[in-house]
């Protein structure tokens, strides 16, 4: 789940750990309290696995600039990329601070690799794995634009079923409880039922919209055949900023 979030954020733009965490706090409820002791090792793991790579600290625009390294120290020129960036990082702490931004201790900026992109899609579309987990769902939904319309519908449907089940169970324990509920327990059960009901309505709204969109896209441009094989890789471009 952590890896999914990290990859998803790095997909948008390269970042360093500290920054990554701020984004996490801001947007992803479940991972809002994630600690560095968790994040940094995760980044290290992902890097070791080749899903992300560090890039030399440079201003976001001039990505390919080697000015820094060349100005700071004489490069042998034939160093492997990894070694070069390592050396560069050590040598560039101050330069980076002056150039890039705020106070820093040789910050490492991570970038997602092709391999990482594959892993991301794999993780994103994989079923949640039993536990009801609201966090895992809302994380996936937050990245839903990277899923094919079909996969999005699957995700929402799975969630709808989970919630429907829960609603039923909650209803049962309110209707004929195996032991009497006191005021507080009853209040919790009732409020929980309402919340779940509201969640279901929300999901159903999203589902309805997905299905409508799917229909609309079929009708106007039914050209180029219906190639259902490419489902996962579709670069969905509908950032419907309504």
């Amino acid at each position: 789940m952590l890896e999914l979030a990290v990859l998803g954020l790095l997909k948008e733009k390269p970042m360093h750990g500290y920054d990554l965490r701020k984004q996490l706090r801001a947007h992803f409820g479940p991972l809002a309290n994630l600690s560095f002791g968790s994040l940094y090792p995760a980044l290290a793991r992902l890097e070791a696995a080749g899903d992300v790579r560090t890039i030399s600290p440079s201003s976001p625009e001039a990505r390919g600039q080697r000015l820094l390294e060349r100005g700071a120290l004489p490069l042998t020129g034939s160093l492997g990329g990894e070694r070069a960036s390592l050396v560069a990082r050590r040598a560039t702490a101050k330069a980076a601070a002056a150039l890039g931004g705020r106070g820093t201790k040789a910050r490492k900026i991570y970038e997602i690799t092709d391999r990482g992109n594959e892993l991301f899609e794999e993780l994103l579309d994989a079923p949640e794995g039993k536990s009801d987990d609201a966090g895992s769902f809302s994380l996936r939904l937050a990245f839903a634009r990277h899923l094919s319309p079909q996969a999005r519908i699957r995700l929402l449907e799975r969630r709808r079923i989970q919630l429907t089940d829960r609603l039923q169970r909650t209803g049962l324990s309110l209707a004929r409880p195996d032991r009497a509920l006191d005021t507080y327990e009853r209040s919790i059960a009732e409020h929980s039922r309402e919340t779940v009901a509201s969640d279901i309505a929300w999901i159903e709204g999203l589902l309805a919209r997905e299905r409508r969109d799917l229909d609309e896209r079929k009708k106007p441009a039914s050209q180029e055949g219906n190639s259902p094989r490419t489902a996962y890789t579709t670069d969905v471009d509908e950032r419907t900023t309504t």
Copy 2:
């Protein structure tokens, strides 16, 4: 948190582990998926600490009956309670099944001790400890009848503050997001805001009722002075089964 739930359930009536878990599944959302690998060690810990004790398998009514043991094997009579019950358990598997109930493998029925009751109240009234944790709150609220009215209000107030904070943060990230939200992210944020708002309304309703109750109890019978010292131990008897 687990210990709190276990003690709270055992406060109502003695139970064995398997049963305990069923109750947990039925009533306590957060602990609904608790596994035995977690529950049994917890029971063992609580027993070792003297917060619960096992009682010999007997029908709920005849608590003190020693008939079983005496009939099954010749007791030395001077065995320590622990040893005796251990031996008894081993020897009584079948008898217990016949007597007590359903199929069983020497089940151990746990009972809360005085020490356990103290621990329970301590745990119940202790502040949640930073993390927003909805589970911890609703667990406490489920046992709210064991708290003094004042402690209940404190619990609800703490929660209200947490939620108000969260509502504000959610509102901010919707109003001026540090990066544009897509349809899905926005939908999540909006739904989350609504849910939190509804939670706050719920809590405020509960708070209002608590304060009304407190007032009403002051007026009619303002006798026996206002002894605020005994707050925690008050045996609240208002199982308002409205």
